[in-house]
Each structure stands twice: as C-alpha cells, then as structure tokens.
Amino acid sequence: MNRAGAVTTTDFLERFLAGDRLALARAISAVEDEADGYRDFLRQIYGRAGKAYLIGITGPPGAGKSTLVSHLAERYAAAGQNVGVVAVDPTSPFTGGALLGDRIRMNELAGNERIFIRSMATRGSPGGLAKATGEVALTMDAFGFDTVLIETVGVGQSELDVANSADTTVVVVVPESGDAVQAMKAGLMEIADVLVVNKADREGAEPMARELRVTLELKPEDGWRPPIIMSVATEGRGIDDITDAVTAHRSHLEESGGLTSRRRSRVQRQLEELLAYEFRRVCAAARDYDNLLEFLTAEVQEGRLTPYEASARLFKEVSREM
C-alpha cells in the first residue's frame, strides 16, 4: 500500500469505517505525520467521534503506568468493550528519534482482538503533542472504540495538557516518588480526578497516601473529591478499585453536567491550539521568514532593537502573507 496520499481515497475511508485495523494504523500515521489529505480524512470521520470515553493516565517515570494501563485495558475488554491505547513517550530533542518501550509491559494483551495499542513519540514541536494526541484519540474514537486510554509521562506542561484533555484523569504515583510529587504537586494534583498510589506493598505507601489526602483537602471543592487508591499493578491488585473510581467519576460528570463543560473546554482549547499551530505554520512557510528571523535576532543581540520591537516587526511581515 502506498503511504503518501493513501488516506484520501474513498476506498481507504470505506476500509476504515468497516473496521479494518490496518487502515486504522495507517490513518494514525497519517495524522501523526500530517500526511497529504489528513485534514480531509479527519473531517470525514469527525462526525463519528464523541462516543468513546477518554481516560488519561499520567505520573512520574517508573510509577507503573504501562502495567496499570495493561490491566485496565484487559478489564474493559473483558467487560465487552473495545479499547484503544495511546502510549506516549518522549522524543529525543537531540536526534529526533525515540525508543518506545511501553509495549514491553503490555505483552499480555497480545492477541486480544478488542484491544489496539499505539506507541507515540512526542516529536518535540511545542503545542504539537496535544494536537497530535488529540487527533489520534479522535481517530480511535471514530473507529469505534468504547474506551481510549492515553498514557503520558507527567513531566512537562504539554504532557499534563494531554492527560488533562481526557474525560477522567488518573494520576499514578509511587511511595518513592515523594520528592517528585513535591515538585509536580501544582500541576499533577490539579488535574487528578483519581489518584493511585501504586507499588503500595512498599514502605512509605501509607505516609504517601496521607500526604496526598492533605494536599487534596486544600484543593477547591467542586463536588468531586478525588479518591486515593492503593494498588500493586504487577499483581493486579487495586485494578477494580480504579475502574470503580473512574466509573464513579464518569457518573458524577454526567449527572452534574461536568462532562459537557469539560468537553466544551477541550474543544475550545483545541481551537486555540490549532490557531497557534496554524500561525506557526504560516510563519514557517512565509517568504524570507528565516532570513528575517536571523536578521532581527542579530539586531536584538547587538542592541539595536528590543525583542518587543523585533517580534512586532516579524508579526507585521508574517501577517502580510496571511
């Protein structure tokens, strides 16, 4: 099958809509690569999305996220659902390459026809990660999955944004990640709908849970108090508690109208991201942009212009082309 332009044919769309997993895999690549015609493709499937429930799973490296995701996917599949998994790992900023190892912890899912796993590299463009992950999740949603699990390492703002764009966000920590949690408290705690202390058979799990509880009490009350769940993912302990908590959170959102408002702010954020993204694209494509950028950089560095003047000039030049 030819890669370039493949997603634009009606034959391809038919295969995708008929549930051909090869077509799904190719569609995801097209979205990630921004291959020719991917926007038309997304437009054609957009109306079919919106049925899947999106669950974000995030936390510090080594917290056991992949193992948890593996168990969750298995649980949902056993309940008769079709499950898509997006596992995001960082791209090396130096080489552009990535080593994606989340499947190692998901080997037990091999051969399960209800589950589809896709590893994704962050690829480094600012704001691009949330856009790409959102579009991949949308593609899975339109393909017909009931649940889409999105796993990211909760280290940077864009990873947090991804997790936060889910319907329910699960934050996973381990007893050892005390310091890491201190550092990430602001971002991580604010987005958590469900908190999981994984590796709970280790020393320090109880104090960790207590500390989290105290932190959560400082969180503004909005009708939902994130539960703290103890789990040992490698033994499958606590998994039912997590799925129960996700279900409870979902019911809460549905009853309170929170789901609609969450999805609305997701769409709004998406529009703003696309706008910013489009603007960067126009910049990159603008005539003489690179030369002008280089020239203005030198002007600022040598003290002839302030960054504000230089960027205003850049903006003026670029808007001429819009």
Binding site: S92, T95, R123
Partner: protein, 134 residues
C-alpha cells in the same frame, strides 16, 4: 512541522533471553532519528506481527540467538503477507549460518546481520529499506 519518521519494531522471538544485541541496535536506530518500538523478550510471531500492524512500522527487526531463525523468520513473513502487510521489510540479526541467510533471503527476508556487524551499517540499510517501502 511533522514529517514522516521511520518506524521500526525490534522484537525478540523465541526462548533465548539474550537481549543485549537487540537493545544496542534499538538505541542506535533511535540515535539515528528513528522511532523504535521495542517489545521485549519471548515474543510469538503472531504477537510480533500484530504489534507491527498496530504500530504501522516500515521495518521489523528480529533478534534471534536460539537457533530458531529458520522457523521464526518465515513465519513472521507469512503472517505479514496474510494480513496484507507485505510492504513491511523483515530484517534481523543473531547467530545465523551463511547457508541459512541465503535461504531466508531467497524467500523475501531482507539483509541479516551477524555478531560483529557495525551499527552504522544496520542504520544505513534500514534507511534504504524504509525508503523502498513507499
């Protein structure tokens, strides 16, 4: 802006637990700017092919040091063809006798590498192989 990246699945089928070679190659490919999906030890051909399809890779690299190469390579190739993914290049490395290499290449397996192969050489080959898949 995004562009097409070369995606490679590195897998270890069969029972041997020697994954150093696979890991060294995986890292070299990553450092060459590719996206490498590493699946770990003890993979069945069925699981490898399913992962290759879901991940939409250009290339599958198998590392085999157990002597099972004459069953594993043909099986992976056959399953890929069955599933309509014959565009995926199958390559790999391990302790492979010359005669076996010749025979495997005859049925459609790509270049195979034996102990001592330079990672540069592997990177170069995979770039070429992925380009021919278009």
């Amino acid at each position: 802006m995004p562009e097409k990246r070369i995606r490679v699945l590195v897998a270890k089928p069969g029972l041997d637990g020697h994954d150093r070679g696979a890991k060294v190659v995986a890292r070299a490919l990553r450092d060459a700017g590719m996206e490498v999906i590493y699946t770990g030890l003890h993979q069945t051909p069925e699981a490898i092919v399913e992962a290759a399809l879901q991940e939409d890779v250009d290339v599958v690299g198998l590392s085999i040091l157990s002597g099972a190469h004459m069953t594993m390579f043909p099986r992976v190739l056959e399953l890929l063809r069955q599933k309509g993914a014959e565009h995926v290049v199958v390559t790999g490395g391990g302790i492979l006798p010359d005669n076996d290499i010749a025979e495997l290449q005859k049925i459609g397996v790509g270049r195979l590498f034996t102990p001592g192969a330079a990672t540069d050489e592997i990177v170069k080959y995979i770039r070429e192989a992925a380009a021919s898949d278009n």
